[in-house]
Symmetry: C2
Subunit: 339 residues, 2 copies
């Protein structure tokens, strides 16, 4: 016995399919009596409208797609959680697709989502304006997450990498540390370069005479460890270290411990992201928190708005707030807030 169709319901309720559709969807144009009869029949037959047929005629899928570079780690877990929560609240389905290394792969993913989604959330290093223009049907609403493409062409929502970095460096300086070194992220990475820009700007503004120290890193724990060793080996040790993300800060902390340097007495340390681990290392890591779930939620809501009112909204660039969360690795005790 195959699933019941709208025709079955119509027959059962002794009306036409049109009336069934009206009674179940629109609401208008049907007597209360017939509507009740139709609902009863639908209930009896366990009728569930065929999604594909509806999509075909309606041109709406009630689904949004999320294109992500990878799903590794707490960041994406939280991001998806936020997106999913918001989608659920709006009655939207969520189609996820990850692991888009190259541009070709991403292009294939976009193509394969064609017609299955009403809009797209894209978080990827690789996509730029040219790519989007080439691969996106221009009718498809898109919101870019944490993307370097700024122009007025697309909706963008970014984490406040720059602001967070400025605030953290300022916090370290105000805590009394004369010099602050940076462990940078991978070259070419948007988050990394924005955080480095924030570091440089804050140093120039709040400690114009201090030397700039930047050692390389790639966001991994190992690179943080190596960076920590390098920093200790220098003749002029910095008073504080700002790692461009928490994983590197954790690695750096291990290097300091192994070398017998006390944190924060001998050298202060701070990270970026506020991943859960930061609370459990000893001493607990000072870092800048971004509410990732909110990030996802915001992105989905913006996308949903664009889907509802196509072309009305002028592309906007939002930036998500952050907080400096002071724990035990930074020495000072001046909490700071920003949102």
């Amino acid at each position: 016995m195959a699933a019941a169709t709208i025709k079955d319901v119509a027959r059962e309720a002794r009306v036409s399919v049109a009336s069934v559709s009206r009674a179940l969807n629109g609401g208008g144009g049907v007597t209360a009596a017939t509507s009740a009869r139709i609902h009863a029949a639908a209930e009896r037959l366990q009728y569930i409208p065929h999604a594909a047929a509806r999509m075909l005629i309606t041109r709406r899928t009630h689904t949004v797609g999320a294109l992500l570079p990878d799903l590794y780690g707490e960041f994406f877990s939280e991001l998806i959680r936020g997106i999913d929560l918001a989608a659920r609240a709006r009655g939207l389905h969520l189609l996820v697709s990850s692991s888009h290394g190259g541009a070709t792969e991403a292009a294939a993913a976009v193509r394969s989502m064609q017609g299955r989604v009403d809009g797209l959330l894209i978080l990827s290093e690789r996509v730029d304006t040219a790519f989007l223009r080439a691969n996106l049907p221009k009718a498809l609403p898109v919101v870019l997450l944490n993307s370097a493409v700024s122009g007025p062409a697309f909706h963008v929502i970014n984490i406040d990498n720059h602001g967070g970095a400025v605030a953290m460096v300022r916090h370290l300086l105000q805590a009394g540390h004369r010099s602050v070194a940076l462990i940078a992220g991978p070259p070419g990475n948007f988050d990394a370069s924005e955080r480095e820009r924030g570091y440089r700007e804050a140093m120039a503004r709040y400690a114009p005479r201090a030397a700039l120290t930047v050692v390389a890193g790639d966001f991994t724990e190992e690179s943080g460890y190596r960076a920590g060793q390098q920093l200790l080996a220098r003749t002029k040790r910095p008073a504080a270290v700002f790692a461009a993300n928490d994983m590197m800060a954790v690695g750096c902390l291990a290097a300091f411990k192994d070398a017998g340097a006390r944190v924060p007495e001998d050298i202060a340390l701070a990270g970026f992201d506020d991943i859960p681990i930061t609370r459990y290392v000893t001493p607990a890591l000072t870092t800048v928190r971004v509410r990732i779930a909110d990030f996802g939620r915001l992105a989905l809501e913006r996308l949903a708005d664009v889907v509802e009112h196509p072309g009305q909204e002028t592309p906007s660039a939002d930036t998500l707030g952050f907080e400096i969360v002071v724990r035990d690795t930074c020495g000072g005790n001046k909490p700071e807030q920003n949102s």
Copy 2:
């Protein structure tokens, strides 16, 4: 200019729509020459088949759904990653839906996925056989993850909670600890009860004369902290503590530290899950690892098989392997392996 349809391609290539369909999908029944002409035309028009229309006629969505209770934490991050990887490898899309507290909510989720997916991955405390029979169209392939429903009615894949617990308790005993206490998980939770069953069985088998000590917990860090305090307050302290999950072990470790008890010298400790944090607490936590990404991958592959060959496979119950990962909280040094 709307998206190109198959008719546009047919006109462009001066053939019928049927030939276009054959050339692009099946392969058979078309001359090489015409096929080339069709492909060229499709390329020129940037033709992408309308997914919904295809679903409607084909009755295949090339999409699987994943019903999850929540998306919080590293566990689900990894699970989704594994599922997504396998889905991508099979050319399937992934529709996720989380936050299903109650049964009604889960039922609604199942209904709303109706017709959008070829099969369903379900991980939920609340669903039992009765629920599934009531809410699932019996044609829809389903694979249950970590579920208590055993019967021969559904495909099930479980983590080896029982085996892992047995192995860990045995490991603690073999490391020389006379007594092992358990910090239990929330009552009614499947994982929790299986792990407790493993604890009791291992104690009965390997330390039949030792007293059983079970204190309550609910998988949260706080409950682990409280349990740790309770255990220290006892007149007869256990030599080792097995927490039913890592978060509780971490909380318990904090309680021991705060009370001045040395780990593992004064009291040994072990967890379950191998979440990333376990590597970063001091001392690093001994635990039992389950490869969650593999878990997801396996589940999806089984589901894909069922989708391909409907009704052929007899419902199977698989169990995923585990490893004891020995770190610094358990005192002994006898690694053990099992898969």
